[in-house]
């Protein structure tokens, strides 16, 4: 497969800002990234460890979309379930239903990604922290296999400080090829208020990656390269229902777009169209038909054209 979505899959129960819980939904960084890849290409697969009960929740969606399960390893009884509690500011807190130890047991190790890569694999998405041993192992197989990595930033340094986190990020980011970060994370990491897009982008542009998707919440996202930054406002496909997974899905889509050779305008448009489709319902896009794939591409192309015209 050309594109891999690697990492945790986690079912979500969303509790809204009024405290009202919703039903169980498929989710997790790698799964949302997978749904995003599938919106643009059929040449993709999921790479994860999960629980035996994942089939009940994810199986029919996977089958509906003709997705391979060859790199899904069932290692425990239960798929991770997170309870997401949204705050009025749109951010959320979360708890793990089966406990953090079970979550840790199901974290995707670099070796599993290595084993999932094939001769035609171009890139993989991975939401990952700052652990240097894990990065060293990623570097080793990436170099050997010649694949590219989209790193969705996650986690903090063990001491929890921005200073150490920034230092650790700078020590490993050269291993990734593409990066994705949201405004809250960037504010923490760079110590710059999240509404100062320009200042944050200035810091991002100094980093040794080909492209960064800088996500600014409801406002939209930037595709940032060492020489340019293109802003695209959020794109509503229909009414926005649930933002869960929009960051993961836009990141997965941005990876695909960048590795397919699209310019930053198209990359950020594809990322935002994906987020628009993702937000249109609770959980993932229910059925990605060929028609929807075609529509999505058309919408993104038109948006990218407008961005170019607006320059």
């Amino acid at each position: 497969m050309k594109y891999l979505a690697c990492g945790n899959i986690m079912s979500d129960i969303v509790i809204d800002a009024n405290g009202v819980p919703g039903p169980l939904h498929m989710g997790g960084p790698a799964f949302f990234a997978l749904t995003a890849l599938r919106l643009w290409t059929k040449d993709c697969k999921l790479v994860c460890k999960t629980g035996a009960d994942y089939d009940e929740t994810y199986g029919s969606w996977m089958d509906l979309h003709g997705l391979s399960r060859e790199s899904i390893r069932v290692e425990a009884d239960n798929c991770t379930v997170h309870v997401l509690k949204y705050r009025p500011d749109g951010l959320f807190d979360w708890e793990s239903m089966y406990g953090y130890e079970a979550l840790g047991y199901l974290i995707t190790p670099p070796q599993q990604i290595d084993e999932a890569c094939e001769d035609d694999t171009k890139g993989f998405y991975f939401a990952n922290g700052l652990d240097t041993v894990i990065w060293r192992k990623i570097d080793e197989f990436k170099t050997r296999r010649g694949v590219k990595m989209m790193w969705e930033f996650g986690g903090k340094a063990p001491d929890g400080t921005p200073e150490t986190s920034l230092k650790m990020m700078k020590n490993v980011i050269h291993i990734a090829d593409m990066w994705s970060i949201n405004s809250a994370e960037a504010e923490f990491l760079f110590g710059i208020p999240r509404d100062k897009d320009e200042d944050i982008i200035n810091e991002i542009m100094k980093l040794p990656v080909e492209m960064t998707l800088y996500r600014v919440g409801k406002r939209g996202a930037y595709a940032v390269t060492p020489s340019t930054a293109v802003f695209c406002e959020s794109i509503d496909i229909t009414e926005s229902v649930d933002p869960t997974g929009c960051g993961n899905s836009s990141t997965g889509a941005a990876m695909w777009a960048h590795l397919e050779g699209y310019d930053p305008e198209m990359v950020v448009s594809i990322a935002n169209v994906t987020a628009g489709y993702n937000a249109a319902q609770l959980g993932p896009i229910p059925h990605i038909t060929d028609e929807i794939m075609k529509d999505a591409f058309e919408i993104a192309s038109q948006k990218a054209l407008k961005l170019k015209e607006g320059k």
Partner: protein
Amino acid sequence: MDYLVAGNVMVDIVRFADGSGSDRKNMGGPSVFAYSGVKLWTDSSMLVCKVGEDFYEYFDEWLEKNNVVREGIKVVCDYCNHSFLVYKEDGTYMGDPERFTKERHRSDWIQDFGYMKTTPEDIGEFSSKYNIKGVYLAQNNDYVWWRKFSEIKKRDGFKFMWEIEAPCCEPNQMEANLNALKSTDIFSINVQEACSLFEVDTEEECIEKLKQLPVDVTIFRVGKKGLYSIAGNEVFFLPSAPADRVVDPTGCGNTSTGSAMYAYSEGHDPLMIGIMANVASAQNIRQFGVIPDFDAVREFAYKQAKELYDNYKK
């Protein structure tokens, strides 16, 4: 290679209920303590564990001094789990929540604990390579884990000691525990865990329940008092073996459990299994962390076990 001792490694700081404690970080974790309980008797044993890169900072000197086989130690992340154990008056302990929030988010710590947990394949890698007699692991009762493990156990034919993990000791976990016990030859549980699991209040009630479990031997640990070695209707109460000094009980349960696994796999009777478990525990309690030098105490341990056995037989 005869024995595999698998599971998590920790780096511990201990604080007792009276405020005293260790002034430095010590080697610990179920697998390391259990390993010491096996290594006390034989050098033909190896640790199978996933660790942080700082493992060697704390363990290297000990590994070197005791010629510990390093083949089964895999570095998978930056840090071992560092735990801050606070003892309560009743001798039980818990992680220090203040230290967690100061030094690390508890959720991150526990996630790392999960990331470093031993998989059945980790054991199978070495049980297929060597003619292994016995394996120790402190483990939960996850059905998938046990299904994979039982296949490896059937393939490689070793004996298995399961030290049950505390979260599996809720009454509603019994069915899953019985499933795990199908692949267990010798079992270890402490009194708090047994009371919770069986919803009873006394050691006697626990023993009645433990006698019914489908294993050859159960080591029922009752704290500083000692342990019961239970084999069907045979029940031996064995008071703690005497130690020349008492410093830190951390890991005594794991150490005695590892030792019992060795004794059982070597074909000793339930009385000797319990005695060897207690002798190992008496060595563990003499210092913070694990037994520092096995060669220095092995002869004494064998002698003490024989003397205790002879005394009990009288």
